[in-house]
């Protein structure tokens, strides 16, 4: 602080000697500097935009986009507006991040456990998998997988995966379910199963607290959540049919095509993040001391119950905070899809829309706002969950 050096006039104790006063002055100067710089930037930007004849504001969102996107979850054509293109990008981002998080978590937990295996060979293979994947840039891995998919045979010579799925350089074509009206009963049964499990769990806890009797909640829960929809499906006579892709001319028709961009991005994202999650999982499990397991055994808990009630809850407490940042990283990294033409939010709004309208400030700000919102939501949820499982101390 420059003001710190100011001498006390006349040798008296001056206001400059008061750290609170100095703090106020310093913050005042800081605010003035920020305002000056900001107004300078805003003025320049307005001037530059006016010179280049570029509009400002978000009016462009309601104009016709005029470009196609490669892959969309909702109906979209080039006659739709920029706002709709933005929505397409947003949904694509959420879709690939959501799927990626699930895949990466599963893969990461498996590799993390393998990394702890007493079997030397398995241990080493997992170790080198993690090290190789972690130390090669994600973008390179995305390109690598994309190149691999593009090197697949053309659609006519598709690889036949079990007669219903076909893999070619146009992507993975899978059968699409065509549902009958009564299909709604199956998701309904699924929801009922979840509600019933929650209720049973509550009842079982109360009963255990009162009588000490243990109720097998887990098998019952699985039975209800999985079994109920299956029973309903069988009762309603399997109310859907599969639309199997058929080769017509040069390409397959029917079914759903999952483009090579999506497959490559999803593979790279989930493998890359899985390697980081594996290390978190390993650290978390190692952090539970062996004494805890021994104490649980001494109390007479079975192996499964020891894991479920003693080891995993304590390990999760260590695993969850870094897991949150891995999920956030995966979501932010999904923006790399722009490099292989996966139409996610950066590619649509900060890519093509920006190029067409020239409204750089608005377009980049929109993309940033999307990621900030997602980041805040994920970290809010994870903080809630973290508090939920945190150690309750005296």
């Amino acid at each position: 602080m420059a003001v710190e050096a100011a001498p006390a006039p006349g040798g008296r104790q001056s206001v400059w000697g008061d750290p609170r006063f100095r703090g106020l002055i310093f913050q005042g100067l800081f605010l003035v500097a920020v305002v000056v710089i900001l107004s300078f930037i805003i003025q320049n930007t307005a001037q530059n935009l006016a010179d280049a004849g570029i509009a400002s504001g978000f009016g462009f969102l309601s104009q016709t986009a005029g470009y196609d996107v490669g892959w969309s979850l909702i109906p979209y054509s080039s006659r739709d507006t920029h706002a709709r293109a933005f929505l397409v990008g947003l949904l694509n981002t959420l879709f690939v991040s959501g799927l990626g998080i699930v895949l990466a978590t599963v893969m990461g937990f498996v590799v993390g456990v393998l990394r702890l295996s007493p079997n030397w060979l398995v241990n080493r293979v997992a170790y080198w998998f993690v090290e190789i994947v972690r130390n090669v840039p994600l973008l390179l891995q995305i390109f690598f997988w994309y190149a691999l998919f593009l090197a697949l045979p053309a659609a006519r010579q598709s690889l036949d995966l079990g007669g219903n799925m076909f893999l070619s350089n146009r992507g993975l074509r899978v059968p699409a379910p065509v549902v009958e009206p009564v299909f709604w009963a199956i998701p309904a049964a699924f929801v009922i199963g979840i509600v019933a499990t929650v209720l049973i769990r509550r009842w079982a806890r109360r009963r255990q607290a009162a009588t000490g009797q243990i109720f097998p909640t887990l098998p019952w829960g699985i039975g209800l959540i999985v079994g109920l929809p299956v029973v309903v499906a069988l009762l309603t006579g399997l109310p859907w049919t599969w639309e199997v892709p058929v080769l017509r001319g040069f390409n397959y028709a029917g079914g759903v095509n999952i483009g090579p961009e999506l497959v490559a991005l999803l593979t790279a994202l989930s493998v890359y993040t899985a390697a980081f999650i594996a290390e978190n999982v390993r650290g978390g499990i190692l952090s539970v001391s062996h004494g805890q397991t021994e104490a649980a055994h001494a109390l007479g808990l079975t192996q499964g119950r020891t894991l479920r009630l003693v080891v995993i809850p304590q390990a999760l407490r260590v695993i969850v905070p870094p897991l949150t940042s891995q999920y956030l990283n995966l979501t932010k990294n999904s923006s790399l899809g722009v490099a292989i033409g996966y139409p996610e939010v950066v590619a649509t709004i900060s890519g093509t829309t920006l190029n067409q309208t020239g409204q750089a400030v608005e377009c980049v700000a929109l993309a940033m706002a999307v990621y900030l919102t997602i980041s805040l939501l994920i970290s809010a949820f994870m903080n809630w969950y973290n508090q939920h499982i945190a150690l309750v101390e005296r």
Partner: protein
């Protein structure tokens, strides 16, 4: 019966109780056999796992080795000369200079090499304790950025090489080193600001850190490449590479700030109070007491941030700067080398792997060394 025979025969009653010499352990529990039994075949499940893994390795490793080494084409000069079924490394061999220097003048590449060698000289005393003449070399580390700038850009008797001609590993290393060099001081200031008692300053730092950490690097790069020129008065222009470097440095400093904050939080309050009791002002207390301790704790975290940053420099290719991966992309889209994606990407991946793996090993070495330092 001789003495040795008696020693080998356990039932020989010629020893008084308790005086029998030690016998070698059973051969099944020591040596390679014992190791195999313990680590690979300790139970039925383990044996099955071992066999399954071996089978998997058998499926994957020999074809990969065949492709990369035994059936590969070395020394070819064009794609047509690649007759063996394996990899065609010619694409890497022919374009090797481009992978290293980009489009830097071929006659001037010695400057890049010299800057690279001097970089090692400048960085070594910062990384390792046992470098000879360490105290003197640190001074060299301080002037190195200016020397490197002069060598790479030119001027003062050297031919001018605009950054638009730079590429390959040169760009990757320059952006990594500049990113870390700029982000460390900025990150320290941000971390101090975040823990400051002045609310305006604290809020500004928290806002900046959380904003940058909440958005992907690519949007920051878009901002620096598309929006930064708009922010400046008419006629003032910036080098494109410099703009990207500013973006990278700002991005890295937000992450660095969080790493440093971890170190600051780990310093016991007594240290702050002791510094105050000695009559040290804020900056002196930080510079002399707190930061030396805090930074020492977080060196591994700093190295990890650097690894992340080094990998993230590949994103520069999205805004049209030819880093190592950008050059690789250009190489695979060259009509003469079509279809040689795998070779190129494997080569580039190998370079990144060696750099990043080396750095993570260094970080582990540091962690071990620092742990020893805390022992009394």
């Amino acid at each position: 019966m001789s003495m040795t025979e008696a020693a080998l025969n356990p039932v020989d009653p010629g020893y008084p109780p308790g005086r029998h010499p030690d016998l070698p352990p059973p051969s099944m529990t020591v040596g390679p056999v014992g190791w195999l039994r313990k680590n690979l075949f300790s139970s039925i499940g383990n044996t099955l796992l071992t066999v399954a893994t071996l089978y998997l390795l058998w499926l994957v490793v020999p074809p990969v080795l065949d492709w990369a080494i035994f059936d590969a084409n070395f020394g070819a000069t064009s794609k047509a000369e690649c007759v063996l079924p394996g990899a065609c490394w010619a694409v890497v061999e022919v374009r090797f200079d481009q992978f290293m220097y980009g489009f830097y003048d071929a006659g001037q590449t010695w400057r890049v090499n010299l800057a690279g060698i001097l970089l090692i000289v400048a960085v070594a005393p910062l990384l390792f304790d046992k470098v000879p003449y360490r105290r003197h070399l640190v001074w060299f580390s301080l002037v190195y950025p200016f020397i490197a700038f002069w060598l790479l850009v030119g001027g003062l008797g050297l031919e001018y090489e605009p950054t638009s001609k730079w590429g390959g590993l040169l760009v990757t290393i320059v952006s990594g080193v500049v990113g870390i060099g700029a982000s460390l001081p900025i990150g320290i200031l941000l971390a101090l600001g975040r823990r400051s008692k002045l609310p305006v300053l604290r809020m500004a730092c928290i806002g900046f850190i959380e904003f940058v950490r909440g958005v992907p690097l690519i949007t920051i790069l878009f901002m620096s490449s598309v929006m930064l020129p708009l922010f400046l008065p008419e006629g003032v222009t910036f080098d494109k590479f410099l703009r990207a470097l500013i973006g990278v440095a700002l991005f890295a400093s937000a992450y660095m700030a969080e790493v440093v904050r971890g170190g600051l939080q780990a310093i016991p309050k007594g240290q702050y109070e002791a510094a105050m009791a000695l009559g040290l002002g804020y900056w002196r207390a930080m510079y002399l007491i707190i930061l030396p301790q805090a930074l020492r704790i977080v060196i591994p975290g700093i190295v990890n941030t650097f690894i992340g940053l080094f990998k993230d420099t590949t994103l520069l290719l999205i805004i049209g700067i030819f880093d190592l991966l950008g050059i690789a992309r250009a190489a695979v889209s060259d009509a003469n080398w079509l279809g040689l994606h795998t070779e190129t990407y494997v080569f580039v991946g190998l370079i990144f792997f060696i750099c990043c793996f080396g750095m993570s090993r260094y970080s582990l070495y540091l962690e071990k060394k620092l742990r020893v330092g805390h022992r009394r």
